[in-house]
């Protein structure tokens, strides 16, 4: 607890070791408080279950084929919505970034629509695509689209114009300009857009699954909740967080120079 106690002090150097120590200290602190609250009897029944119960549930989940099947459904839905959202998003982003007229006409629309809650369109998606994975994929793709389109358009505009002139001076054709200059120059902003898009795609897919669905992790969370299996619920949530964080870290890593 020493590190947490001296948070305001500037004398601690931000070395990787100290950073790790601080993180561990905070984690241990949170776990201790949790376990303390759980045992204090202040809360009704299993609202805050013991850590032991949660980890036991997590162990059971990890060997439960139902969990893996639902995980697979959610992953397929997320990847599919990301692929569709990225396909449309990158295309629209390039068009907006390349054309000043279209950019002025449509970028504010994309910009101001992007933070609106897509989940309100869920009923429409259900009508169009049914209660199965397709409606979640459609909604996820829609939410990923905005982040990716905006990020691609911004990336397009920040390309150093001299690189375009070099391409022209070597008489690159349209495809060579696109694949050898524009896209590599936009790699980092596009990957950042995909990372943001994936975040919203996961959120939207899970949200859709909790609303109306018959499979997927979101559906499973609601199932566990209706059974009031609190250790199972927390175990499931932790696994979802860990998975989403890991995928995010992976994309973030590839977006670095």
């Amino acid at each position: 607890m020493a590190a947490a106690g001296s948070l305001t002090s500037s004398s601690i150097a931000a070395t990787p070791r100290n950073v790790l120590a601080l993180r561990l200290a905070v984690a241990v602190f949170v776990l201790c408080v949790w376990e303390g609250l759980s045992r204090s009897g202040l809360f009704y029944g299993e609202v805050i279950p013991s850590l032991l119960a949660i980890f036991a549930s997590m162990g059971k989940l990890l060997i439960d084929p139902i969990f893996w099947r639902n995980l697979q459904v959610t992953m397929v839905e997320t990847v599919a919505s990301l692929a569709i959202g990225a396909g449309f998003g990158i295309t629209v982003g390039i068009v907006l970034g390349a054309n000043r007229f279209l950019m002025r006409a449509f970028e504010p629309v994309v910009y101001y629509l992007s933070p609106t809650p897509r989940i309100i369109l869920f009923p429409v998606m259900i009508m169009w695509f049914g209660v199965g994975p397709a409606s979640k994929i459609a909604l996820g793709a829609l939410s990923a689209f905005f982040a990716i389109a905006l990020s691609t358009a911004a990336g397009m505009r920040q390309i150093d114009p001299i690189l375009i002139r070099v391409g022209r001076s070597f008489r690159a054709n349209v495809w060579q300009m696109a694949f050898k200059i524009y896209l590599p120059a936009m790699r980092v902003p596009i990957l950042n857009g995909i990372r943001l898009g994936m975040g919203t795609a996961i959120i939207t897919v899970l949200l859709g699954e909790t609303k109306l669905s018959n499979q997927g992790l979101g559906y499973m969370i609601m199932q566990v909740y209706t059974r009031f299996d609190m250790p199972g619920l927390y175990a499931l949530l932790m696994l979802v967080f860990i998975l989403a964080g890991a995928v995010n870290a992976l994309i973030g890593h590839s977006a670095r120079d």
Partner: protein, 281 residues
């Protein structure tokens, strides 16, 4: 764009700039950047165009490079009037222009990649020109790991690899310090003599122009016209040692005489523009 079928004669100039005029703007705001400029570059010759800022040098560079397609008069290679980037002209830009995501060798191989040259041949040829600019041990490095002078050498190798008939450079050393500039000048002279490379250099640097050139085209301040063309009869092969010779000093003094007037007109112009801005602000 029609490609001339007649092979050029040996005596025919590599490049002819014939009465080129370029105006920018419209109505009362028209600025004549290049005003009836004519000169030619012979095969194997090193010509510099020198002038103060605002003499239309960069406009001329873009016209000859084919990046500015609308102009009056003609820039000709053989019988062909340039109105788009021409395969015979290889451009080196003033700005740092290497691709940051490519290694040195992949940067240099870029034009060959566009032409669809097979990978092994591409690497061989890129290697040859990297070696020529003295960066053999940096082939696998990324531009971010190189100094400014090294990056410009990568750009020069990248342009040379496509073996252009005419090497067209726009102040490639403008951002470098004087010592690096002199040493790179040696490198350029050496390469030019090795390849018998026809070269047109756009510059505002007097010593650089005299050090490297066979002929210097002196431009006037706005509108950019040819004030004089000076033959530089310094011995070849040449090195930067020439900078210390009497003849060198003589050429520099002579051209400076022409240039001073133009440069001071340019300075007066930008000062009066600045005082107008200050008065309005």
């Amino acid at each position: 764009m029609s490609i001339s079928e007649k092979p050029p004669l040996a005596q025919e100039p590599a490049l002819v700039v014939d009465d080129v005029v370029k105006r920018f703007g419209r109505g009362t705001e028209i600025v004549t950047a290049v005003d009836h400029v004519s000169f030619s570059v012979q095969q194997g010759e090193f010509v510099s165009v020198i002038g103060p800022s605002g003499c239309g040098k960069s406009t001329l560079f873009n016209i000859i490079g084919g990046l500015l397609s609308e102009y009056e008069g003609a820039v000709k290679i053989g019988e062909e009037r340039i109105s788009a980037p021409h395969p015979a002209v290889g451009m080196v830009f003033q700005e740092e222009s290497t691709f940051p995501w490519r290694t040195v060798i992949d940067n240099v191989a870029f034009p060959l990649e566009l032409q669809g040259v097979a990978k092994s041949e591409r690497m061989d040829r890129a290697h040859h020109f990297i070696d020529m600019v003295g960066l053999a041990s940096f082939e696998k490095a990324f531009p971010s790991q190189l100094s400014g002078g090294m990056k410009q050498r990568v750009s020069i190798a990248r342009t040379l690899v496509s073996q252009p008939k005419i090497l067209l450079m726009d102040e490639p050393f403008a951002a470098l310090d004087e010592q690096t500039r002199l040493l790179l000048g040696d490198k350029i002279t050496q390469i030019q003599q090795e390849l018998n490379q026809t070269t047109l250099l756009i510059t505002h640097n007097l010593t650089e122009a005299v050090q490297l050139s066979d002929r210097i085209v002196v431009m006037t301040y706005r509108p950019g016209q040819v004030k004089r063309i000076v033959d530089i009869n310094l011995p070849r092969p040449r090195t930067s040692d020439v900078v210390g010779s009497d003849a060198f000093g003589h050429y520099v003094a002579e051209i400076w005489n022409d240039l001073r007037e133009e440069a001071s007109r340019g300075m007066a112009d930008s000062e009066s523009a600045a005082s107008r801005r200050a008065a309005h602000g």
